[in-house]
Amino acid sequence: MAELAGVFASSHAPLIIRGWKDVKPANQRELTNSLTELGKRIKATRPDVLIEIAPDHWVNFFINNLPSICVGIGEEHEGPAEPWMKDCPYKKIAGHPKLANHILQTAFERDFEPSVSHHLTLDHGFCIPLWRGGLDPLPPIVPIVINDLEPPYPSVRRCLQWGTMLAEAVRTYPEDIRVAILATGGLSHSIGEPTMGEIDEPFDRECIRHFEKGDERPLVDFLNERLPTIGNGAAEIRNWVAAHGAAGKRGFELIGYCNCPEVYVGCGFASWDLAARA
């Protein structure tokens, strides 16, 4: 049977690529250290497959067809389409149809109805943490898109349950493979809104504390109360919540946090110690 070998989370601020030269040296160091450590920890799990959870930044979907959750089951996916990601080494990205279909089947058995894609384009949200984390070559990836960009969003509780389902799907997959999960997005940021550029570090710190404590109810209540009151980019924390669910809601460890105004994002990086699961 498959083994869940690691669970991780990372911010994916575009300006880490597009505006890197304008990032202060101290923040460059902090971001580089965190992304390097993240990559090191992912590599240490020796994943045969990486399940990656990220939003779609208007690359695959539009408001004429906007899934809440979409599972990429294709044999291959496209690398990032954004012109400023042209130096990204991932032009074609291998998928893992067998695990992806098993996740899909498990999801339907657990009363989720995700949409399906046989060919996704994996934008910067998927690729920046992998690229800057030094994962080259990549393991096959099962991409999962959660709609964090355009309301209505899936509920925080549902994302937690989705993560729990993912762990079950990995556990019941009938091949001896090692699987890691990486969720990307957040923490606080605001894009295209009057508050654009504002980072709410107290919110981020409190959010991190809730992940560290692990308890479901306070985390969900906190996010339900606070997410609507801060920048739209924080909606992506739903992906971290899914990762938290997959990790059994225990073992969160912050790799690094950088309040980085130059990239408009409170950047967080984390892993979960799976030995802490009950």
């Binding site: 408001i63 355009e150 295209g192 009057p194 654009m196 550029g197």
Partner: protein, 93 residues
Amino acid sequence: MRDYWLSKLFFDLQSTPALGDEYRANRKKVLDRYPLKPEVRTAVERDDVAFLAPWVNPYLLRFYFVVAGMPEEVFLKKVRTAGADAAARSSHG
């Protein structure tokens, strides 16, 4: 609320680099292909961020003005002012 054709214009421009090039060279020619409401088209032509903001996803709004060539500091000023304008309108009932 979302204005579908405004959103579609912004979506197409940010996802098709050649269309972005064409738009920067000849806005009118591209705009003529989209059935925009007159007041929406006028707002696009005037780079009226405050008018457009409520009608389109904020990410698309940002991506559009990057493609349209608006300098970042100008966009930031306009989008922040848009918030102040909205608050002022709201306070006046």
